[in-house]
C-alpha cells in the first residue's frame, strides 16, 4: 500500500490575500472524488500532487519521500488533464511510442489495445481527432501509465456515453488488478459518484470536506414537510440548504438521520445533492 500525502500545502486563491494550507492523504486501493465548483482549485491541487507545480508552502510526499523532482516518485503519479504535454501533430501510433520513451513504466501494448477499444484511429494526427476522441486517447494513456496514483482532471470532456461506459469498465479492471489509487477531479458529481469511496470537497481553495462516502451517506439526509414543522426541527440542526415550495419546505441536514417524527418525511440524499448544498453560494458549510 502506497501513500501520497499533502502536508500543509499552501493554496492561493485568485491572487487574493486568502491563503490557506491543505493537508490530505491518499492511499492506493481507493477511488477518490475531488469535487467542487469551477475555479475551486481542483486542477491546482492535482498539479501539486503530481509534481507539476511547486508549492509555495508545505510539501508533497510519496511514501514519506518528497516528490519534487524525484525521479523515483514521479513515474508513480500520473496527471491526466486537458493540457497536452506531447506533440499534438504526431500520429496516434507514434505518439504512443513517444510517451513510452518518456515514461519508464508505461505500457505501449495496453495503450494500443485501449485505443482500439475506444475506436480511435491510430494512423491520424492527434490534432485531427475530435474533442471526444482526444479525451478518449488521454484516458487510454492514463490507464496504461503504470502509475500507482492516477489523477483524472475533468476526464469527461466530450466523451460519448458508449466511450464513458467502456472507460469505467477498463478503469475498474485496472483498479482491481493492481494496487493503485484513482483521483477524479470533477464538477460532474452525478456521473462519478457510484464508483467513489472517498470524497474531498474544495471551495475557494479550501478543503471543506474530507470523508468516506459511507460515512457521508450515513451522516446526511433530507427532511421535508410543512414549513413550520421543518423550521422547528431545523433550529437544532446543522442545515446546509433549504428549499421552499409554497407551504412545503425541504432542508438538507448534516448529521445522523433521526427516527421517524410526526409530520416530517426523512429521506436519503445523493452525493451530488450534498455537494451542491455544501458549495452553495448562499448556504454551504462555510456559512453553517
Amino acid at each position: 500500500m502506497s501513500r501520497l500525502v499533502l502536508k500543509e500545502v499552501q493554496m492561493e486563491f485568485e491572487k487574493s490575500n486568502l491563503q490557506n494550507t491543505i493537508s490530505a492523504e491518499f492511499e492506493t486501493g481507493h477511488i477518490y472524488g475531488l469535487l467542487g465548483r469551477n475555479g475551486a482549485g481542483k486542477t491546482t491541487l492535482l498539479n501539486l500532487l503530481s509534481g507539476r507545480k511547486y508549492p509555495s508552502g508545505g510539501a508533497v510526499f510519496l511514501d514519506e519521500k518528497p516528490i519534487w523532482e524525484n525521479p523515483t516518485a514521479l513515474p508513480k503519479i500520473y496527471y491526466c488533464g486537458n493540457s497536452k504535454d506531447f506533440p499534438t501533430t504526431m500520429r496516434v501510433s507514434l505518439l504512443i511510442n513517444w510517451i513510452a520513451a518518456m515514461r519508464p513504466v508505461f505500457s505501449s501494448e495496453k495503450a494500443t489495445q485501449l485505443c482500439e477499444k475506444f475506436s480511435l484511429p491510430q494512423n491520424v494526427r492527434f490534432s485531427s481527432l475530435s474533442t471526444g476522441q482526444k479525451t478518449a486517447f488521454q484516458l487510454a494513456i492514463a490507464l496504461s501509465s503504470g502509475a500507482e496514483f492516477i489523477l483524472f482532471d475533468e476526464p469527461f470532456l466530450g466523451l460519448d456515453t458508449n466511450t464513458r461506459h467502456l472507460f469505467y469498465q477498463e478503469l475498474l479492471s485496472v483498479f482491481s488488478k493492481g494496487s493503485i489509487a484513482c483521483l477524479f477531479a470533477t464538477h460532474w458529481v452525478e456521473e462519478i459518484e457510484s464508483i467513489l469511496d472517498e470524497i474531498l470537497i474544495l471551495e475557494k481553495g479550501k478543503l471543506i470536506l474530507n470523508d468516506s462516502c459511507e460515512h457521508l451517506i450515513q451522516n446526511s439526509y433530507q427532511v421535508s414537510g410543512p414549513s413550520q414543522l421543518v423550521d422547528r426541527f431545523c433550529s437544532e440542526q446543522k442545515v446546509l440548504r433549504i428549499q421552499t415550495l409554497g407551504g412545503l419546505k425541504t432542508a438538507i441536514i448534516l448529521g445522523p438521520q433521526p427516527p421517524a417524527l410526526e409530520g416530517l418525511t426523512f429521506s436519503k440524499i445523493s452525493l451530488s445533492e450534498l455537494v451542491l448544498a455544501l458549495t452553495d453560494q448562499e448556504g454551504g458549510i462555510s456559512h453553517a
Binding site: Q169, L172, S176, E193, S194, I195, D197, C213, I217
Partner: protein, 122 residues
Amino acid sequence: MEIHFESEKPIYLQIAEQLEEAVLSGAFPEETQIPSTTEISITFKINPATALKGINLLVDADIIYKKRGLGMFVKAGAKNRILEQHKQAFYQTYIVTLLSEAKALKISKAELLEMIERGYES
C-alpha cells in the same frame, strides 16, 4: 439485475439481494463459481469495496464461500437456506402485519382462517 441508486436501501444490500435471487432462481447453481467483485463492480458501475461488502454478507449467511486463489462459489444447500430465510421474512412482513391489521379491524381468528381457505379455493 439492477441497482437503484436513489433507493433508501444501501447499494451493498441490493447487491447481496440480487445475488441471492440469482442463487434461488438457479442462475448461479450450487458449487459453481459466481462473478468476481471486479465483474460485479463493472456491471453496476460501483466501487469494488461496495461489491465486496455485499458478497461478504452472503459469506456470513453461508450462501457463498471463498476458495483461495480460485474465487467465490455458491455453497451447497444455499438455495434451501435462502428459502428458509425468505420464509422467516415472509412471516415478519406478511403474517405479523396481517394479524395486526385483522386485530384492528376486529376480524376473529375463525374469520381469518375462513378467508384464507377462500383465497386458496379461488
